[in-house]
Symmetry: C2
Subunit: 770 residues, 2 copies
């Protein structure tokens, strides 16, 4: 754990240069716009520890699988998020000395991520080995208004000398992924060109054939006016730019504006890329940096208006939650249904892939509540479009009959993970994808989604469950053997409670939706049945039978559903009784020891109770929480949030707050010592969930939103906003009361502490605190 980020409500601030934390800061201070993203690398380059990283959404490379021992069914490749053209680059040589913070003395270093307006700022004084001093101020952003555009304002003031700056502004496409399995480069050169003041570079991925065209131009100002300088072109393989000699005058500021437009063959025919990039570039250049920056601030203001959470009395928590919201909004905008939410967003390349069950189980709720329904719908359509691949994937594993198994990790719908205990056995992911359909429809009321898209996915998933279970003659029940549950510290277990539970929920829900569509759009149902050769009577009856006769391990003495068969055979120790030197167990223990211990990586049985809370009475929830929470080590970033929600429901304020702290500043404080590889983007939705569903107690009751807020002792108040069915609600919770504001022109009904209330349009309502 680190503690070097300065606490501030709206900004992420690093003061003083900490090269040993530079890779961490590069992750934390990343900027993105859902289309492209950039780690907080230095424009002028850095000779010290750095991971130069620029990423384009949806552009990936199928890196040949690396395994120790091949298992039948493993995929041929792992889809890597591609490190792409370095568009921020500039080389500054001052009278023969290169500006590089690795070799300078650095003073007054400050790096700020301005979350309110969406830009990155950096300022410092560099003292070159010769003693020359320069003040640098750099600002940059990728535009959330013009997604193709990234722009930089880079100011230089010589403080104790006048002299020449030899400046190279460049685009560098000769990039290698740090985690390439076989140390290959993934890009090849397609086109490069340098004109008087623009440079253009097109590179193309091997195998997948994605083309990326980047075009750049620049402008240099002195004394408030653009100046014209002689430029010479620079080119080498996959590298284009301009060289200029800029005269610097002591104490006078020179400003370099760099504009870059990047377009890909995902959006345009390859032949049009250069034209499209030039067009976007000229538009941006015409507007200029300050106008683009103003547009950026306005657009972010709009985003915050819908999604901000404020916390009074706890500046660290305030900064944490805003950082999480900011990163989520930077990562996914919902404009492009081909995209999804990568585990590290645009902040790093580790793990690769773009889509995990995180999306449905953790992120969907955030986008549903803070954005237009289309955003969440696109997340669902993403899976709908991958259905044929999911069916193919199941076929590879021996399933027939149109069963679908969605991949554990994917980019284009194909599985790309390769650990048998996860790839083949962590099948509960299928359940989260089905449950997301329920959640979306329940939240938005968009029942048309079911007949048009949802039911086809539900049936394919239900068919999978029906094939995957088997009837145990011994138990006279259906069992599900050889699975890995959400708790990945158990592998190849039998009858994981969560998996069995979500499986029968899927089967029952699919039967229900078949009934619903039959009643509302029978002709669509018929067409679907024909398309997928559905044997209604037989298949539905089988599903019903499984729902009735599914086996769930249960301990009669404890009155607890067991996480899996045989769980109580384990030595029962609590995390608190473990010597601290054992933690985290995933770094200290060998895998077999972890597996046979009772310790739980992340919410598992409790994940089921969280997902299907209404089916359990409060005493049952309490018993399960009290049993499982003390055995949970929370070594997944996805774990604490679920426990926060349940602890809040049980009124365990202290516990909820303690767990909240583990999620909200995970990356800012580098809890797990791995933020240098990128931020834990998807788990950031868990922080939002902790506040809104946890402390705020937000639930849906049919078509209505319900709140049962509590407030941690450490906070004075907190507020959050919810968009629900076209109405924007603001909830302010203080120790004394709950203020509910209806910021919309509709009358809104809500539950507050289980009491149904009506709030007139643009009015508010005050309830007592709890």
């Amino acid at each position: 754990m680190k503690n070097y980020i300065i606490h501030d409500a709206w900004n992420i601030i690093e003061e003083g240069f900490l090269p040993e934390y530079n890779r961490i800061s590069e992750s934390i201070f990343s900027i993105g716009n859902g289309y492209q993203g950039q780690r907080a690398n230095f424009e002028e380059g850095f000779g010290g520890e750095t991971l130069q990283g620029s990423y384009m959404a949806g552009v990936y490379y199928p890196d040949k699988t690396r395994v120790g021992w091949w298992k039948n069914g493993y995929p041929e490749y792992f889809a890597k998020v591609l490190n792409a053209t370095n568009w921020i680059g500039m080389t500054l040589i001052i009278e023969g000395e290169k500006l590089d913070l690795h070799t300078c003395q650095v003073k007054d270093f400050k790096r700020i991520l301005n979350m309110q307006e969406g830009f990155l700022e950096r300022s410092f004084i560099a003292i070159l080995p010769s003693g020359k001093q320069l003040r640098i101020k750099a600002q940059r952003f990728v535009s959330i208004v013009q997604k193709e555009i990234g722009t930089i304002k880079y100011r230089i003031t010589p403080l104790n000398f006048s002299g020449n700056l030899d400046l190279t502004l460049f685009l560098d496409g000769d990039i290698k992924n740090e985690d390439a399995n076989y140390n290959e480069k993934f890009w090849e050169n397609i086109y490069q060109n340098v004109q008087a003041e623009t440079a253009t570079l097109t590179i193309k991925t091997k195998k997948t054939g994605f083309s990326l065209c980047s075009a750049t131009t620049f402008e240099i100002f002195q004394k408030g006016n653009p100046i014209t300088l002689e430029t010479s072109p620079v080119q080498r393989d996959k590298y284009v730019g301009h060289q200029l000699r800029v005269p610097l005058v002591q104490n006078e500021e020179t400003t370099i504006y760099k504009f870059v437009a990047q377009v890909t063959s995902r959006d345009y025919p390859a032949k049009d890329l250069i034209t499209q990039a030039q067009k976007a570039l000229q538009d941006a250049f015409a507007k200029g940096f300050e106008t683009l920056k103003m547009e950026q601030a306005q657009a972010w203001a709009k985003k915050w208006e819908d999604s901000d959470i404020t916390i009074e009395g706890d500046i660290a928590a305030q900064q944490g939650i805003r950082f999480n919201i900011f990163q989520l909004d930077q990562t996914y905008t919902g404009e492009d249904a081909r995209l999804n939410i990568g585990p590290k967003g645009f902040t790093g390349e580790k793990y690769g892939g773009s889509t995990y069950w995180d999306t449905e189980a953790y992120c969907l709720a955030f986008y549903l509540a803070t954005d237009a329904p289309e955003v969440a719908k696109n997340l669902l359509l993403y899976r709908y479009k991958h259905l044929p691949k999911a069916i193919e994937n199941a076929q590879k594993l021996g399933f027939k009959n149109g069963s679908a198994l969605y991949p554990m990790v994917t980019m284009n719908g194909e599985e790309c993970h390769n650990e048998w205990e996860i790839t083949f056995e962590e099948i509960h992911r299928n359940g989260a994808i089905a449950k997301a359909i329920f959640d979306y429809v329940q939240y938005t009321g968009d029942k048309s989604y079911l007949a048009d898209y949802g039911l086809e996915v539900l049936i394919a998933i239900s068919r999978f469950w029906a094939e995957r279970v088997n009837f145990s003659e011994e138990k006279q029940k259906y069992v599900m053997l050889g699975v890995t549950g959400p708790n990945e510290y158990e592998n190849n277990i039998n009858n994981n409670y969560y998996t069995n539970k979500i499986a029968i929920w899927c089967l029952a829900y699919t039967n229900e939706i078949i009934g619903f569509v039959k009643g509302t759009q029978p002709e669509k149902l018929q067409a679907l049945f024909e398309k997928i050769n559905f044997q209604e009577e037989k298949e539905c009856a089988k599903w019903y039978d499984i729902v009735q006769k599914m086996y769930f391990p249960y301990n009669n003495a404890l009155r607890i559903f067991m996480q899996q068969d045989g769980y109580m055979d384990k030595e029962q120790i609590l995390v608190k009784d473990l010597d601290k030197s054992n933690l985290p167990i995933n770094q200290k223990w060998s895998w077999d020891r972890i597996l046979r211990s009772c310790f739980i990586k992340q919410a598992d049985t409790l994940q089921a109770i969280y997902a299907f809370e209404n089916e359990y009475d409060i005493e049952t929830i309490k018993r399960h929480f009290e049993f499982y929470e003390p055995r949970t080590v929370h070594e997944s970033s996805l774990s604490p949030c679920v426990h926060v929600v349940l602890a809040s429901k049980l009124g365990l304020k202290e516990k909820a707050y303690e767990l909240y702290l583990r999620t909200s500043r995970l990356d800012l404080d580098d809890y797990n010592n791995d933020t240098e590889d990128g931020c834990h983007t998807t788990s950031m939705a868990g922080t939002w969930m902790s506040v809104v569903q946890g402390f705020g107690g937000m639930r849906l009751k049919n078509d209505t939103v319900a709140f049962s807020p509590i407030i941690p002792e450490q906070w004075r108040s907190y507020t959050f906003k919810i968009m629900h069915r076209g109405s924007l609600l603001r909830v302010r919770v203080s120790k004394e009361n709950v203020l509910l504001e209806n910021l919309s022109d509709n009358v809104v009904n809500i539950y507050i502490h289980d009491e149904l209330c009506t709030i007139e349009k643009n009015s508010s309502l005050m309830a007592k605190g709890k």
Copy 2:
């Protein structure tokens, strides 16, 4: 499955050149002497599919581990058997045309492995592209008398021309392992030198620093006399040799003799290697090829005298069993306690490592019965010497208190396998190592081994079991969680019957041996206890408690011990009811499907019954065999032999014979389509076991050997020999009777069909067949 090897009692014969099977033949026709081995590559090289392979026992390389996903506790490297200097090499260029069977027409090709005399022979007529015809006859062997020596006799007769042969005789150390994880070369150059008629090359392994010095000389004969030719030296990096121009005369034979001596730094100080190699080389050269070959034949005759098995009426079975014995004797001689029996012997480099549990569970019985007791003792001492590493290995996995976990795969005592479900969980290997001590002492009567070596190993293994189990409060029994049994088609299961069984057997046996040593060598016991800080009262009591309260899954209705917890929850299908297109399931099914099926890769519960047969009455054995055999797919080469032994005991002749066929010609007929990578050397001991313990019904009863022979319908008779406590016994089983011959000068007591008989020295006894 292939069927191209010609059936013959003493020879392995390939007739007609089958380049598509060349890699398979290279494995099958391999030669070795326990010190070095050589695949049946062509001396003149081959442009087609080939795996050039020369191996030196005990010379390995720690190849950096390759994994997809790292798990804590994985070893840093996998020990690879090293492909070493190609010593057989010669290049033949006839009037500008290279002799290469890949580019010639080949006639009358014949390859023979003469098992009786221990050499490889090859003859063919090559028609070069120019039409020139040559007859070639090549013989070679590595000497089992002078282990450092390999020698070749290569005869060339031009059939339709006279002309010049440009001959290069060389040693090539610029060798790469086919299965190098990172495509590296493992050898570096140390010394190379070419003199008038000798060439010397020393290469050294990276990291491990093993030096291998090879020295070669030659002699060329025409018309029965040596001829002298001008030679020129040839050298390049790690390559030394001589070039000569040999005049060939039509229809006259030219004979090339090549002699090679190879010595390593395992046996001599590095500085002496060249001298030692030269010395061995000169000795061999002085003897000449024919003398060396005669010595070889005599030495093999002696080996066969003690270990031959004959089968009348089934030439394929005869060839199969001799091939297996021949390969076992080629692989391990027991002279060097630092060596062990690699899974592929000297016939290939796949899998690497040298030592698996195969040694103790399968091979030991063969060497005990066919060789001097020292041979088997050296196999045991190998593990004794590795005890400190086994304790270290257990410590890495979190065990304390002197517990030992022997590695799954090793070269020097360190674990080098890296699949968590095997490396960390297939812990039953520890049991086999303990059981081998019992088997050795029971067979040889060498009880001194216990106090000197055995007990220390037994205690360390027992300590492991005592730490590895835990007491289940739920079951009020000790359980063993998270293991992989011998049946590797189940991973991370609980309470594997075999593992639990062998664990408590170890605990009980160790307690018994502590008592024995206390009664016989109390001072040695005391010294040992002090050395290992043994708390006798406490530890022995704990072990006793575990023995009493170990949990064994049992099905009351079936009266069957279950292979593991939950086995009967699986869908119960029999192999015979599976559509053949599913077999072998390890090639057709994804891993998860295999894991959740009821199908058994290899004997598991039956392995326990085999190991502890005396503890089960015949009805119990029958019930278990009838339950498990129909569920076993025998997709391990180690499986059928155990079933043969039990089937024979149960009088199921047909079943026993059917299963025997799966083991005896596994490599000769390339059953598993993988002989090209090397032979299944360790499982060859299973074939021996099938005949002797299976059909022959050999068992030990205290200090006495017992036989209960049956004979398959397909055979007229079979014979085998057993060395036991200094007496050589020959057993001949025919349909009518059993002839027992005592070939020794001792009076021998044996059981035949449970009846105790005495056979006078050098006499025989006839019993009725069964």
